[in-house]
Subunit: 148 residues, 4 copies
Amino acid sequence: MKSKKIENAEENTLKVSQDIRIRFNETDALGIVWHGYYLHYFEDGREAFGRKYGISYLDLKAQGYVTPIIKSSCEHKLPLRYGEIATVETTFINTLAAKIIFKYKIMNAEGKTVCTGETVQVFVDDNNDLSLTFPSFFKAWKDSYKLI
Amino acid sequence: MKSKKIENAEENTLKVSQDIRIRFNETDALGIVWHGYYLHYFEDGREAFGRKYGISYLDLKAQGYVTPIIKSSCEHKLPLRYGEIATVETTFINTLAAKIIFKYKIMNAEGKTVCTGETVQVFVDDNNDLSLTFPSFFKAWKDSYKLI
Amino acid sequence: MKSKKIENAEENTLKVSQDIRIRFNETDALGIVWHGYYLHYFEDGREAFGRKYGISYLDLKAQGYVTPIIKSSCEHKLPLRYGEIATVETTFINTLAAKIIFKYKIMNAEGKTVCTGETVQVFVDDNNDLSLTFPSFFKAWKDSYKLI
Amino acid sequence: MKSKKIENAEENTLKVSQDIRIRFNETDALGIVWHGYYLHYFEDGREAFGRKYGISYLDLKAQGYVTPIIKSSCEHKLPLRYGEIATVETTFINTLAAKIIFKYKIMNAEGKTVCTGETVQVFVDDNNDLSLTFPSFFKAWKDSYKLI
């Protein structure tokens, strides 16, 4: 039983790493990336996740749903500068609520954590109605990855 | 006759001035506004023009048209820095072609020209077709300002 | 005693309201403001606060400090669309820690809350050292507003 | 003689192709990339060029120069949409003036030209003075590629 649980726990962790190159226009007069751009990097990570696991913006749209972000947060540990290559690690956080939650960790080339963050998305259908339960296609997606 | 012509020439010049405050996040690691943001300022000027003269994006949309930009250019004379208040002067350039042309001049608080530029827009209707002639509502708009 | 406390409580609330006009380029393919732009609006509010109360980015810099953002969060209730006029209400949150905390509330033209959020800043001096206590100029600033 | 000329002409064409993935946040309410973002793509192309040929922003800075953009232009033929992969082709345009000129061509996945453009940069040294002739390091760079 115990080993099964551990096995499940491992299966539950869907994660993607995506490299990003810091653009000159993302820096500000302090010479570092302006804090608001980290939400762009989170989006880069989230989309890389979507492409790998088949739940990108366009996949969701094909199912008749958009998933607007209702909450985001970002905690900064170290700055990033122009020209650096950083890595965004995006992890799917399983939840019983009708939401999509991602956690993000951005690391610099030395592997040090630059920032961490989280976004929460909801499901809105073609009639602009908020889903209070998981759409069936998303339930099927979760089942396919043994996310209960 | 001559005076009439001059009078017309004056009537033909539709122009709007709009103040903008330079945001911190518009600066780059050189401490000055990143060149790409001037297209944002041009948009601020163009929209101020649209509000004053009744041809804003929403006015055009209500008539069944969008007017995507097909050409833009920008010439920089002086930098702008965070905290400066600049003025965007937007001038409608009358043309016989089925286009909307604006010229822009951005001045700093001392009245010195910081940059100049131009955008060209075309008319695209609800069927996503390019208009080869002025839509009738736009012809009426031009007539109302004696723009021939 | 009680009335004094209430009086102090009121004096402690420093707040600024700033109108913003939603730009076309801040919308995304869903036709609403892309979530990341709310951090720009927070910056607009924070800067308006700084100008009113004398602790803008440039005021702090003149004192030898920059105040990078180490934490931000945003909670979305309603969307904003192109052309809307919204109001950013920025409130200074007094704290004993060597930090600057602001809370934000953005309301649409009907007065409905569109989003709320918070940012946390720290003090970094000319030597790039983090201040563990309030710089003396900031202590004096707090005293001048009876913020203990 | 003729063949030599042709050979030189070929050597003179320094060019780099860089793929870009269109981000969701680069689209606007029309569902297409907002025109101002093409200057970001040009920057992506210019930086890819700089990395390949050793004249990136950081290389120039190490030589004591920054190269602000004094002119840019963009001509749009077709829209780009979220999720598309486009290619930016950046070509160095040799000139006798103390300037760096690049031409850009962005193509969509079908190889169709989406937009073309140009940027012009000047050399500004550590004293914030404009160079009226090529800095010696840049002359050496040009010589190394047989650009006369």
